[in-house]
């Protein structure tokens, strides 16, 4: 158990790195996708819809192969396995998060938009000062769910050779043939890594709801 743990621990940093970096990419890119999808004009809406649907329709593992073995292997663009995983998972989760953002934006009452329009607030200010803070509260719980899903999906990166927990478990098993022990420990590590996300999400949820209501 001790040796399994110490071997798999080598992959923990990679797993956390891929998860956090991909989540950061997704959190940032998801927002414009959500905003574009809510546009009143179909010409603006359509490209965003297509991007989101295509990103979600293709299996993550296919995206990673596509990015790593095609785009990432051209002469002027050499991606590391880490970079390819972050880009691929980041884009896929941007599509997922954009749906969560969209639900959050939809949850802000129409009267809030009207008030910003009646006050002639510039659109960016309306989003930043009024709409997003209220949408965020709705979005935090699904965001946490997606973060944990992303943590688990990061295991896919092992197939293109990213040296994460799953990669280490596969390597170790090829040496010692102890699949049960190695992958049980791997599973426990994923559970352990997921706990902070849940805790952070609950804390953020509490703080934000208090900010919304409390004086």
């Amino acid at each position: 158990m001790g040796t399994i743990l110490s071997t798999l621990a080598d992959g923990v940093a990679q797993t956390i790195g891929i998860t956090l970096a991909a989540f950061a990419v997704a959190a940032v890119l998801g927002l414009p996708l959500a905003v574009l999808r809510r546009s009143g004009h179909w010409l603006v809406r359509l490209p965003a819809v297509v991007v989101v649907e295509v990103l979600r329709a293709v299996p993550p593992i296919v995206w990673l192969f596509l990015i790593y073995f095609s785009l990432g292997s051209t002469d002027n663009l050499q991606l590391t396995t880490f970079q390819a995983a972050v880009i691929g998972l980041g884009l896929i989760y941007a599509a997922h998060l954009s749906e969560a953002y969209r639900a959050g934006l939809d949850a802000v009452p129409a009267g809030q938009w009207e008030a910003t329009r009646a006050l002639a607030l510039p659109r960016t200010q309306a989003y930043v000062r009024v709409i997003l803070p209220q949408a965020l509260i709705v979005v935090i719980p699904p965001m946490a769910t997606f973060a944990i899903a992303l943590l688990k999906d990061s295991a896919i990166a092992s197939v293109i050779g990213a040296t994460d927990i799953t990669f280490q478990a596969v390597q170790l098993t090829q040496q010692d043939l102890n699949g049960l022990g190695n992958f049980t420990v791997a599973g426990l590590l994923y559970i352990a890594l997921g706990i902070p996300f849940a805790v952070v999400a609950r804390g953020a949820d509490r703080v934000l709801s208090r900010r919304l209501v409390g004086a």
Partner: protein, 249 residues
């Protein structure tokens, strides 16, 4: 309106349509500076739609809105200029729940008008004081009574130093006691010479505070007159029926 005074706000043949259903038909109205106009009438008469057309929350499907003789709403720029000059108070307050009263009021002066933060804060404090809520400056709307929330909303609109204030049934969401404090604030404003267009079911307010009352039904202006005349001696049978009904309650 006296004949020699130039209208501050002009509605010229304004229609409002939702999808293809027209709910306001060809309304023309002049509002003089300092005048208080009450829009009354049964629910569904198109009063709120007409009011919301004035600042293009519902863009008019036909007709023109002129502020000080200048047509507005053709472009985003003239629309923003219009909205800076036209304050709006909503039935459901529409305060920003995550911001304090003071932050609600200073938001537009700071970010629409671009005032330095300190100046926006001073202006906001002045308006909160004006509506009697200086001591609630740091409270979130959720901690304030409905009447206080609506007065904060009034302060928020006033902080833009508008030329006209629009009120969309400002007391309908409030019980009578809380409504009274909002009406008192509006009365003060009217006394200070603010130009106001008020959609209301408060007949006493229309009679006592408004200079002119416009009665609407089925999307049309049925009758308009000075408040005293229309409220005491309505000419049109539809107006008489409405006033009898609301007074009979």
């Amino acid at each position: 309106m006296t004949p020699e005074s130039k209208p501050l706000l002009t509605l010229d043949g304004v229609c409002v349509a939702y999808r293809h259903q027209e709910v306001v038909h060809d309304v023309s109205l002049d509002v003089a500076a300092g005048e208080v106009v009450a829009l009354i009438g049964p629910s569904g008469a198109g009063k709120s739609s007409l009011l919301r057309a004035i600042n293009f929350l519902e863009p008019p499907s036909k007709g023109r809105i002129l502020l000080e003789g200048v047509e507005v709403g053709g472009s985003r720029r003239t629309l923003d200029a219009l909205r800076r000059d036209v304050g709006m108070v909503f039935q459901s307050f529409n305060l920003f729940p995550h911001l304090t009263a003071l932050q609600n009021v200073m938001l537009a002066p700071e970010h629409t008008l671009g005032l330095p933060r300190e100046q926006a804060r001073e202006r906001a404090m002045r308006q909160l004081t004006h509506v009697g809520l200086a001591e609630r400056a740091d409270a979130k709307p959720g901690k304030c009574s409905g009447g206080q929330q609506q007065r904060i909303a009034i302060a928020r609109a006033l902080a833009m130093e508008p030329k006209v204030m629009l009120f969309d049934e400002p007391t309908s969401a409030l019980d009578p006691e809380l409504g009274a404090e909002v009406l008192a604030t509006m009365r003060t404003l009217a006394g200070e010479g603010m130009t106001m267009v008020v959609v209301t079911h408060e007949m006493h307010f229309a009679e006592d505070v408004a200079d002119r009352v416009v009665f609407m039904a089925d999307g049309h202006v049925v009758e308009e007159n000075s408040a005293g005349k229309l409220m005491r001696d309505p000419q049109h049978p539809r107006t008489q029926r409405f006033l009898n009904a609301v007074r009979g309650r």
